[in-house]
C-alpha cells in the first residue's frame, strides 16, 4: 500500500508544464494539466482519477485515453506504468442507453 503523504513529499510540488492544456480524455475533455494536478492532490490510481475527473468515463470508456492517463500517472510518480493499477472492469462494457439497459431480458419486447 502506498503511503500517500510520503509519496506526495517525494514527487514534490506541481510545476506547470508547457503541454498542460493538451486534451487527454477527449470524450470528457480533461486536460493533462488537470490530471497532473489531481495526482499531486493524491489521486494515484486510475480508479480515483476516473471518479474525481471523469477521465475515461465518456463514450469510449477510456479505450483511447486509458493508456495515456496511465503513462501520465506513472511519469508523475516516477514508476513504471505496469505498477499503476488499471481501472476496474465492470459492465456495461460498451456505452448503452439507460432505456436499453433497463429492458434487461427484453421483457418490453416479449
Amino acid at each position: 500500500m502506498i503511503d500517500i503523504q510520503e509519496r506526495l513529499r517525494q514527487i514534490g510540488p506541481l510545476d506547470g508544464a508547457p503541454d498542460d492544456d493538451l486534451l487527454v480524455c477527449r470524450c470528457e475533455e480533461i486536460t493533462k494539466g488537470e490530471i497532473r494536478r489531481a495526482i499531486h492532490q493524491g489521486m494515484f490510481t486510475i480508479e480515483e482519477l476516473r471518479r474525481y475527473l471523469r477521465c475515461g468515463m465518456g463514450l469510449c470508456q477510456g479505450q483511447t485515453c486509458g493508456r495515456l492517463v496511465k503513462n501520465i500517472v506513472a511519469a508523475e510518480l516516477g514508476v513504471s506504468p505496469t505498477e499503476i493499477t488499471s481501472a476496474t472492469a465492470r459492465a456495461p462494457m460498451r456505452p448503452i442507453e439507460m432505456a436499453v439497459l433497463a429492458d434487461d431480458g427484453g421483457a418490453a419486447h416479449g
Binding site: L22, R67, A91, P92, M93, R94, D103, D104
Partner: protein, 531 residues
C-alpha cells in the same frame, strides 16, 4: 428473464474466435459467436496483403481470402454467428449479457472463449484531437472496406508492421505518404515491408516523433522533430510537412476488460493487462478461455492457431472429443505456433537490436535506419547472385518465418531448407526459366528477376507490382532505386498478370546493364499511383 444456454460461447468473430469455433464444431460442439461489428472476420478483411509463414499457415494467401475461407468453414460446420451483438458483461458463472437491438439478452455457456482482440494505442501531441489525426486501423477500414481515401497527403507515425503495411496500402490507394517517423532508432517491422515503401520514395525518419498536428479546423500539416535517447525533442531538429492526415500506428493494447470483469487472474504487461493463461488459452477460471490478441499481441496467423488450440481444448473439456487425441492436436498446433514465433522478430527478441543473421551475415543498418538496403550491402545475402541468364535476386535479409518462395520455384533454384527462418539462397547451378512464380509468391515483394544483355548494353528487371492502373508495354518512365531516388529512365517491356500470381503483377522494365542491381521500382512518367 430467459437465459439461453450453449456448450460454447465465443466473444469476437475475428481470426481467433472463428478458428476456435470451427475447431470445436468439427468435434460436434455447437458454438455461438458474438461480435459487436456488422461484419464478421475482425481485421482479416482489411488485410489485403499476402501473409507470411509456410503452407500450413496459409502463407502467400491474402488476409481477406483467409477471412472468406474461415467464414465458409464456419458455415460448413454449423457455427452460429450473431452480429451487431455487443457483449457488455462476462460473469464468473460463465454468463454473458449481450446488447442485441434495443435489449439486453442473457446467455450462459458451459465454456466461454474471449477473443475480443485489441484496440489501437494513441499518442498525444499538440493538435492530436484535430480531424485528420487517425489510427492506422481507421485508415485501413476506410480504404479496404469502404474504398475511401483517408486523405491526399498522409504522414505515418510508427515503423512497426502495422505502420509499414498500412503505409504501403495508402500508396496503393493513391495517397501520397509524405513521410514515416518512429521514435525508436530502428525500423520496428519487417525489413521487406519497409523496403516496399522506401522504394516508392517514402522518406523514413527514425528517432523522430510528431511534435504538432498543425491546423485550426483540421490537419493542414505536421511538425516532427528528432528525439534524443531521453525521448525528448532536440531543439532545432524540427521539420514541417504539408499533410491533411496523420496516421498513428503506435501499437495495440489487448481488449481484456471482459476477462478482468469475470475475475480471471490478470498480469499487467507493458502492452497492457493480459489474462494469465495456459498454452491452450485456459484462464484461472475453469471453462473460461482466451485466444488471439486479447491474450498477447501477435499476428493474425498466430491468432488463428491460438484459436484452434482453444477450440480443441474446449471440445475435450466438454467431453465431445477424446482428451488424448485433443492433447496431440494441441501439441501439433503448438509446434505450428512455435514456428511462427521464431526468428529475429520472435517475442523474446522484441525491442532488441540484432546485428547479425543466423547465417552470420551483417544485418543492413541502412535498412534499419532508412528503410532500404544500401546498394553496397545487398551482395552479401545468399539470395543475391550474379548469373549470365535470367535469375531471381532475393532481397530477403532478415530471419523471418516465411518460405513460400522455396516451393514456388518449379526448377528448385531457391532453397531455404528445414529451418523456416533461414535466408533464401539462390542455387546458380539450377536453371531459372523466368516464370516469375517466386516473384509473385513473396509476401514481402522482395524477389526480382534480373537478366543482363537482352540487347546491347541493356538488361531487364522484373519487379512485383501492385498498383493500378498498370503500365503498358512501350511506356517509358523513371526507374527508382531501393531508396526511392530516380536512377535512370526505363521502358516497360511487358506486364504479366495471372490468377496464379494472385493480383501481384510482374512488371518487366528495360534499363542499362549497370543499373540492373540498383533499379527496384518503376514510376510512370505522369507520376501515377500517387507517387
Amino acid at each position: 428473464m430467459k437465459t439461453k444456454r450453449y456448450d460454447m460461447i465465443v466473444i469476437g468473430a475475428g481470426p481467433a474466435g472463428l478458428s476456435a469455433a470451427i475447431e470445436a464444431a468439427r468435434q460436434g460442439v455447437r458454438p455461438i459467436v458474438f461480435d459487436e461489428n456488422a461484419r464478421p472476420g475482425g481485421q482479416l478483411f482489411k488485410q489485403i496483403h499476402k501473409f507470411f509463414g509456410s503452407k500450413e499457415h496459409r502463407a502467400k494467401v491474402r488476409g481477406l481470402k483467409i477471412g472468406e475461407e474461415l467464414l465458409a468453414e464456419a458455415e460448413k460446420y454449423g457455427v452460429e454467428v450473431m452480429l451487431d451483438a455487443a457483449v457488455i458483461g462476462l460473469y464468473p458463472e460463465k454468463e454473458i449479457t449481450v446488447k442485441i437491438d434495443d435489449t439486453v439478452r442473457h446467455y450462459k455457456g458451459d465454456t466461454i472463449l474471449v477473443a475480443t482482440g485489441a484496440a489501437e494505442n494513441m499518442v498525444h501531441f499538440k493538435g492530436w484531437t484535430l480531424p485528420g489525426v487517425i489510427g492506422a486501423g481507421a485508415a485501413q477500414t476506410m480504404m479496404n472496406l469502404h474504398h475511401i481515401q483517408p486523405g491526399k497527403r498522409v504522414f505515418m507515425l510508427g515503423s512497426g508492421n502495422v505502420g509499414l503495411v498500412v503505409g504501403f496500402q495508402l500508396l496503393q490507394a493513391g495517397c501520397e505518404v509524405v513521410g514515416l517517423a518512429d521514435a525508436a532508432p530502428h525500423v520496428g517491422g519487417y525489413g521487406v515491408h519497409a523496403a516496399k515503401i522506401a522504394r516508392c520514395g517514402v522518406p523514413f525518419y527514425l528517432s523522430h516523433t510528431v511534435i504538432e498536428a498543425v491546423g485550426t479546423e483540421y490537419v493542414t500539416g505536421v511538425t516532427i522533430g528528432q528525439v534524443g535517447p531521453d525521448m525528448r525533442v532536440i531543439p532545432g531538429t524540427e521539420k514541417y510537412f504539408d499533410a491533411d492526415t496523420i496516421c498513428l500506428a503506435v501499437g495495440l493494447s489487448p481488449m481484456s476488460q471482459l476477462l478482468k470483469q469475470a475475475g480471471c487472474a490478470m498480469e499487467d504487461t507493458k502492452g497492457g493487462p493480459v489474462p494469465l493463461c495456459a498454452a491452450d488459452g485456459k484462464t484461472s477460471i475453469s471453462g473460461i478461455y482466451a485466444a488471439g490478441d486479447v491474450s498477447g499481441i501477435e499476428e493474425a496467423s498466430s491468432a488463428m492457431i491460438k484459436g484452434r488450440m482453444s477450440g480443441a481444448a474446449i471440445a475435450a473439456y466438454l467431453g465431445y472429443a477424446d482428451e488424448k487425441i485433443q492433447e496431440e492436436r494441441i501439441f501439433e498446433l503448438g509446434q505450428q505456433l512455435g514456428t511462427l514465433r521464431q526468428g529475429m522478430f520472435s517475442p523474446e527478441n522484441r525491442g532488441k537490436l540484432i546485428t547479425k543473421t543466423d547465417e552470420g551475415i551483417g544485418v543492413s543498418m541502412h535498412l534499419l535506419e532508412h528503410g532500404s538496403v544500401a546498394d553496397d550491402e545487398i551482395a552479401r545475402y545468399p539470395g543475391v547472385t550474379r548469373q549470365a541468364g535470367i535469375h531471381p535476386v532475393i532481397e530477403c535479409t532478415q530471419n523471418i518465418p516465411c518460405n513460400p518462395c522455396q516451393d514456388a520455384c518449379p526448377k528448385g533454384c531457391i532453397r531455404i531448407g528445414e529451418k523456416i527462418t533461414s535466408l533464401p539462397a539462390v542455387d546458380a547451378a539450377k536453371e531459372c526459366v523466368g516464370c516469375g512464380m517466386c516473384v509473385a509468391s513473396c509476401s514481402g515483394q522482395a524477389i526480382f528477376l534480373i537478366q543482363e544483355d537482352v540487347g546491347p548494353g541493356v538488361g531487364e528487371v522484373t519487379i512485383p507490382y501492385e498498383f493500378l492502373p498498370l503500365p503498358r508495354a512501350g511506356d517509358t518512365g523513371t526507374a527508382l532505386g531501393r531508396d526511392g531516388r530516380p536512377v535512370c529512365t526505363a521502358t516497360v517491356v511487358k506486364v504479366r498478370s495471372s490468377p496464379a500470381f494472385d493480383h501481384t503483377n510482374l512488371l518487366t522494365i528495360k534499363v542499362p546493364n549497370d543499373m540492373l542491381m540498383k533499379v527496384r521500382f518503376y514510376q510512370t512518367q505522369k507520376g501515377g499511383m500517387g507517387l
